[in-house]
Amino acid sequence: MVLVVNGERREVPAGCTVVDLLQLLGIRGRVAVERNGTVLRQGELAETRLVEGDVLEVVTFVGGGA
């Protein structure tokens, strides 16, 4: 199935969870995830199954002031 992750189309196996996706993408550090405009709690990442067309935002902290 195809998802949109941080604005880019990604092909992933059907039925994968958010945690599976993060592993596929090689993401290990501290991230937060928004799915279709709703922020997921950390505890929801392992149980949230993704579906075709989901739009995900994966964010982290970066340097910034104002």
Binding site: N6, A32, V62, G64, A66
Partner: protein, 257 residues
């Protein structure tokens, strides 16, 4: 004498808040944080670069045992985007404190205070400790305070401009108008600017570019710490009134000859 800065019941020894952007390197940033003595450190929330795995993480360079992270909503232009960013920041699991910033103009980076207030009301309801970037307008500052914000953070000049304290009178009025801490956010260029803000009675100063962009950032970070301390001490000490004419400080009696 205890002169701690209290924000939302949390005690800070330092009245300087510092950012994490635009430093020459993470190493220099870390040294600046140490030299500044700041205990509140702002960070931005951004999309993870999926192609840059293994890149050094910002968090490896911030001593979170000594410093509280203050995620910001920098460059958000709507209340909705700012609220989204704060919710994501909270899920990053380091802090439920946020520096709320909703901008209204790309050229000046002035805040959109209507959107800021709308976002603040939502965020306070959701349990965030909200520190909003705002104008020096006492009316909006009171509304932000009434909305439950833990501080108000007026600009002294445009973000990153280094123009210094352009609005001393308004900042003084603002300090009188609200009970929550007033933290000057944006516009300072050098240590004397910071000292002026503190002498006006402001409770703290948040800065980034003035240190990160200095020729010697670490030295400037130290200067800013001293500027905050000098200004605060002068404010507490109480300056002499300004007089129009000279007034000798040596005795008039007993002059030789």
């Amino acid at each position: 004498m205890d002169d701690a800065l209290l924000i939302a019941g949390k005690r800070f020894t330092s009245r300087l808040l510092i950012g994490t952007g635009k430093y020459p390197s993470f190493e220099v940033m870390k040294q600046c944080h140490e030299a500044s003595g700041a205990e509140l450190v702002t960070v931005a929330v951004r999309r993870l670069d999926l192609k840059a795995q293994g890149e050094a993480s910002l968090l490896n360079w911030i001593d979170t045992s000594q410093r509280t992270l203050l995620p910001n909503t920098a460059l958000c232009y709507t209340a909705e985007d700012a609220v989204r960013t704060c919710r994501l920041a909270r899920e990053l699991g380091m802090s439920h404190w946020v520096k709320l910033e909703v901008l209204g103009d790309e050229k000046t980076l002035f805040p959109d205070v209507e959107q800021t207030l709308a976002a603040a009301r939502i965020l306070v309801k959701e349990g965030f400790v909200v520190l909003p970037y705002t104008t020096d307008d006492i009316i909006i500052a009171r509304k932000l305070e009434d909305a439950g914000c833990a501080a108000v953070m007026p600009l002294a000049a445009p973000i990153g401009s280094g123009l210094g304290i352009r609005n001393p009178h308004n900042l003084r009025l603002l300090r009188e108008a609200v009970k929550v801490p007033v933290i000057v956010d944006a516009g300072v260029g050098t240590a004397s600017d910071v000292a002026i803000a503190m002498e006006l009675g402001c409770d703290g100063v948040l800065l980034n570019t003035a240190v990160a962009g200095a020729r010697d950032p670490v030295r400037m970070a130290r200067a800013m710490r001293l500027g905050v301390e000098a200004g605060r001490e002068a404010f507490l000490a109480g300056r002499i009134p300004r007089k129009a004419y000279g007034s000798a400080s040596s005795p008039l009696d007993g002059l030789v000859g």
